[in-house]
């Protein structure tokens, strides 16, 4: 029996590994990263971290000396993600941003699913292996990475949704509330039952902002278009438990909500599926989400953080990134928050109203209460 077992086992190992090799669709990102990082790793392994930093320092100083734009190909950019880069949402759009930076010639590297505690060490690692620009993709990293920034003055840290702005630590704020606002508005306009639902994930600030934005969007619709729509907003406390999100959405729908919207990264899919199965309308919160609710999705309110990446990258190359003490907000104005084409035929009236409000947001004519 033992013999058979061993044979089977080894066979199994082989099989799984073989299958692994034959995987045709290996994300090119990883491979490029591998090649890109080889050099630095060498550096990191041979020279010790201190030496690495000085090296980095020199490069950036020489750049600073001459006022013209820094050549992208000399730059090494890293990003540290809180979730999976394929979550069709928050992290994925940022990953796309990173890719665009790569296309401009910089060499990139990234880490996924990094817990708050490990972020600091990851940042330290990148900084010490000569990365000049490091993106921190969630504000929960801020508290851990500020000290790192202090230790590596020649490395620039960009904190998405951070709140602090000091010399080499730059925060940019993504206008989550605007996305929520548009979702709420559209949901209210589309609702016939007079109840709309919002399913949030972990109760972190972006989600909270989105949630309150949603409420305000609904209120806005109620005030300006004489509707009386009730908004039901629920957090599941998880970005990954799809079933939880789905069941929550279902119970919302069964409770009478005929429009549901997710703001829960990975788990958002569950909400879309719920809408699809229960014949409700869904408003997607990320590109690609609509695929899991082809008939139910009305429109996608995209929050494309990639824009923030390209913008900040350009600024960095022009030495204009640091300096301002106020945290810049990326929203409709910068084209971070925008709408896709309508997937269901909503009445022209609705569409017009939505586009109108969208423009007002972009022009800053509507201001949303940020207290949460």
């Amino acid at each position: 029996m033992k013999k058979q077992l061993t044979v089977l086992l080894s066979g199994l190992l082989l099989l799984s590994s073989l299958a692994a090799c034959q995987s045709g669709s290996s994300p090119s990102a990883t491979t490029t990263t591998a090649t890109a990082t080889t050099a630095e790793a060498e550096q990191a392994t041979t020279a010790d971290s201190a030496a690495a930093t000085t090296a980095a320092a020199e490069s950036s100083q020489t750049a600073a000396a001459s006022e013209e734009e820094i050549d992208a190909s000399t730059l090494k950019v890293a990003a540290i993600f809180g979730g999976a880069i394929n979550d069709g949402n928050w992290n994925e759009t940022q990953y796309n941003g990173l890719k665009q930076i790569e296309e401009e010639g910089a060499s990139i590297a990234y880490l996924e699913n990094v817990g708050d505690t490990d972020a600091a060490q990851a940042a330290r690692d990148y900084a010490s292996s000569g990365y000049q620009l490091i993106y921190l993709t969630t504000n929960s990293y801020q508290d851990y990475c500020l000290p790192v920034a202090a230790d590596f003055p020649d490395t620039t840290f960009v904190s998405i949704n951070g709140t602090v702005n000091q010399d080499n630590y730059i925060s940019v704020r993504i206008a989550d509330e605007q996305q929520g606002f548009m979702m709420g508005l559209i949901a209210a306009l589309l609702s016939e039952s007079g109840k709309v639902g919002f399913v949030g994930g972990l109760e972190i600030n972006p989600i909270k902002l989105g949630s309150s934005g949603f409420q305000q969007g609904v209120d806005y619709a109620n005030q300006n278009y004489g509707l009386s729509v009730e908004a039901k907003r629920i957090n599941t406390g998880s970005f990954t438990d799809v079933n939880q999100a789905k069941e929550t959405a279902i119970s919302l729908i069964e409770d009478g909500c005929d429009v549901v919207t997710p703001m829960a990264n990975d788990a958002g899919v569950g909400v879309m599926e719920a809408a699809e199965e229960k014949g409700a309308t869904a408003i997607a919160s990320g590109i690609g989400q609509e695929t899991s609710a082809p008939t139910a999705t009305a429109v996608t309110v995209v929050k494309d953080v990639a824009v923030a990446y390209t913008e900040t990258f350009k600024a960095y190359r022009n030495h204009t990134l640091s300096g301002s003490s106020t945290v810049e907000t990326f929203g409709a104005n910068k084209g971070v928050v925008y709408l896709t084409d309508w997937l269901t035929d909503a009445s022209q009236e609705v569409k017009d109203r939505v586009t109108e409000v969208m423009d007002q947001l972009a022009n800053g004519e509507i201001d949303i209460d940020l207290t949460i």
Binding site: M1, A20, G237, T240, D241, K246, E247, T248
Partner: protein, 304 residues
């Protein structure tokens, strides 16, 4: 009246949706427990199976998914038996190790194969005619194939366990391995077989998580369902029918949770989330006295 019926049907179907993976996995665990193997690797098995199912479905369609899930469950169980039975390592330990291993493997596989593909879930299979019936039709006759199979499996497995020659051997191996040996039953072979079987069921259960409850794989989506299944097995007093009752109870607790989420209590969702776990503990407190817990549970059998 109609409203009430609707709420009821909604509630029950939510119950079933949650119960199915727990029950499916628990059925396997009942058998391995009865044969004397405590399999806390269930969590890891379901995790690997869930990702395999998604992969299979993405490349070969849902059935491919089911197949791959079953195979991966089998493979995982094979590893488990190799260490617990062949090498006589402590079952709890190996289970823990396996779960850690599985966590890593599932992520690795996910990144490799599910980068940019679409996963199609299990299709609903409405039973013609019956599914047209008001309320009950939708309630009982409009599910994925796997759901029917799970519930049909319960009486079948109950029969196997208590009426069949195999069942007798299995129960005996869990009670008194030496006695089995004395009548020429290859205890360790029985145990291996049973664990492999439970591996397959755990695999299918995992596939239902990624293809039935949803139609995608997300890291961490299994979220302790394997452990819940273990609890279901114990709370179900180590019988298939009992497991069904237990699973449905947990499902009900879950369904209730989601119903309450939409009320004012929603803002205290954390406490609602505790519900199923609390019910598990309470049920264990209440039901631990009448127990079919096998005498040789968790002990490796060593032929002198």
């Amino acid at each position: 009246m109609e409203g009430i019926l609707n709420t009821l049907t909604n509630f029950i179907s939510a119950d079933v949706r949650t119960a199915v993976p727990l029950l499916l996995c628990a059925l396997g665990l009942v058998f391995s427990e009865r044969a004397g193997i405590v399999n806390i690797a269930a969590e890891g098995l379901m995790l690997i199976a869930a990702v395999s199912a998604a992969i299979g479905s993405a490349y070969f369609g849902p059935w491919g998914g089911a197949l791959l899930a079953a195979i991966s469950g089998l493979a995982g169980a094979l590893i488990f038996t190799f260490f617990t039975i062949t090498l006589r390592a402590n079952q709890i330990v190996v289970g823990t190790a396996f779960n850690i291993f599985a966590a890593g493997l599932s992520v690795t596989l996910n990144r490799r194969f599910l980068a940019d593909v679409t996963v199609t879930g299990y299709p609903l299979r409405a039973i013609p005619g019956l599914s047209q019936l008001p309320f009950v039709g939708d309630l009982f006759f409009n599910w994925q194939l796997l759901v029917y199979l799970t519930f049909l499996g319960v009486p079948l497995l109950q029969f196997v366990l208590y009426r069949s020659n195999l069942g007798l051997k299995i129960r005996a191996s869990g009670e008194q391995p030496r006695a089995c040996d004395s009548v020429g039953i290859k205890v360790n072979r029985v145990r291996t077989g049973v664990v492999l079987f439970s591996g397959i069921l755990a695999g299918l259960a995992g596939s239902y998580v990624s293809l039935g409850q949803a139609s995608t794989f997300i890291e961490g989506m299994v979220a302790g369902k394997g452990f819940m299944a273990l609890a279901v097995c114990v709370f179900g007093n180590y019988t298939p029918v009992g497991a069904m009752g237990a699973a449905l109870l947990f499902g009900a607790a879950d369904a209730l949770k989601y119903r309450l989420l939409t009320t004012e209590l929603g803002s205290y969702y954390q406490f609602l989330n505790m519900l199923p776990y609390l019910i598990t503990i309470i049920s264990l407190m209440l039901l631990s006295h009448r127990s079919n817990k096998p005498a040789a549970s968790g002990k490796p059998y060593i032929k002198e």
